[in-house]
Amino acid sequence: MYSYSDFDEAFVRARVAQFTDQVERRLDGSLTEDEFRPLRLMNGLYLQLHAYMLRVAIPYGTISPRQMRQLALIADTWDKGYGHFTTRQNIQFNWPKLPDVPAILTALADVEMHAIQTSGNCVRNVTADHFAGAAADEIEDPRPYAELLRQWSTDHPEFQFLPRKFKIAITGAPNDRAVTKAHDIGLRMVKNAAGEVGFEVIVGGGLGRTPMVGMVVRDFLPVEDLLPYVEAVLSVYNVLGRRDNKYKARIKITLHETGKAEITRMVEERFAELKPLFGGNDQKLLADIREAFALPAFRDAPTAAYDAFYKADPVFRAWADTNLAQHRNDQYAIVTVSIKAHGQTPGDATSDQMRLLADLAETYGHADLRISHEQNVILPHVHKSDLPAVHAALVKAGLGTANVGLISDIIACPGMDYCALATARAIPVAQEIATRFNDLKLEHDIGPLKIKISGCINACGHHHVGHIGILGLDRAGVENYQITLGGDGSEDATIGEKTGPGFAYDQVVPAIERIVLAYLDLRQSPEETFLQAYRRVGVGPFKTALYEAGERDAA
């Protein structure tokens, strides 16, 4: 993986020194809170409901065992022994104390990590397909481009005060696992008729209070034009984007207010100006970066032991069926470690679990780990013959849950249990849904089903693109949950449709159960997934199950 250059190292250390000084000046009263607040946000430090929260970037979701162990050390030394993996491939510590934050940032810098640009109106952590460099369906590893974007966007003087935050996602595979169509810029690798590799550039996607699927502004962008083109998009947005109204400041609104044709014209015009200015330096840099993402030295060994174990052990088989994905090398598999044990908090890993994952990556996984936007941890390169040992170790650590892609593999934002912006809780709803369907023993029968829960309209829990989305709101001083159906975050990105009136906190799990039982009744075969069935029959039968059954129960 990429290692910091002297420039990166000096930049991060200098920022830690600056912020250390700023914290001291806040504590001695030289800085007011109004002066300090933007400085702490530039360094990922929020003040939440019960405590401070530090958001640490995991660039494009790639993390080394050494870094993972350092996160465990930070959790043990300055927090409460755990960390929360987020939908933007970050990790959040929920309980740091202000005087300790400089020491935490120093510990992060020691392993080439930081919390810079994880807040504020700047280019945020660039996210990528969590199977990058390993997936069988991939055209090319997108991470060298993600790293190039990270270097270009870090402290970019023109883009530190954008109209609003700006999120970029990138994938090198046709199956979109990075939700590119719900980002300010989505980059999807494609091949043109001549077989050359480039990007389809999608602009103006986003969730939040005005959910939109992004529009394609360039069908094919040659890979060498990536930086000047992205800079052109940012540059046009920086000028046109609204600064008078926070709710209309994202590029998705700019795109709709200005029109796709005009924006595209302006971007292409700016691109023509910018391209010659890069002078090939970005391509030299990219060539160096590429070397850091060379494939590991894959082992060539028999996989018969795996096949035998798969046949013999039903627990292992269930896990292998849900948690493994196809690797580019037939002898290997991609392991998704579920951080969603039934009844636990989605995305929370203890320091012991982090250390075990680091050990497994070192012993069996070519020292590579990933964080997915679905709040799980990936071992991208595991030889099949090692899978039984990996599974056994995971089970022992409470990480062996066989539920990836199933109803209990829920995305949930921190919600009102932690977040100062939340309007309702999200985590306990996820815990109760997972526990309920585990008790019913229906999970594997139901099959692929993505539930995503947000505790406010900002949609950090991606509820709009959940097959079942749940949005927690404050309705006249009471928690109320609105349900959407048919959302999809894949290459067929779709915003879910509202079913109707929301449900009280204690009614939301029964409501989800009615939806799922209705699906089991109406599906044509066990192979027809929830999303396929929804697309076939529409919202009608689900509305009937949700509301008419509810009225009967109440009567």
Partner: protein, 100 residues
Amino acid sequence: MSRFTPKVITANRLREGDVVYFTADDRWTPFHHEAEFLEDEAHAQLRLLDAAAQKLVIVGAYLADAKAGANGPEPTHFREAFRTRGPSNYNHGKQADHAL
């Protein structure tokens, strides 16, 4: 003009981030029921100025709705009720620190 409803003053501690409440004798307490119960709007605004002036102790002081209870003020909104305890997924925060 809408009628003033009773309030307490609440904030987070600057160093720790903990939720605290402003008492009648200018202290910050972790316990909601020890907060000064503010029934008069003009007095509440003055007390908010006093509270916000403690810039080296707290951050983000504001008036939160409250009602009278047997042991002192009680929160009326669920958000403020959560702030008296901590998160619901772990026994962390004030519910653990003060064994409520």
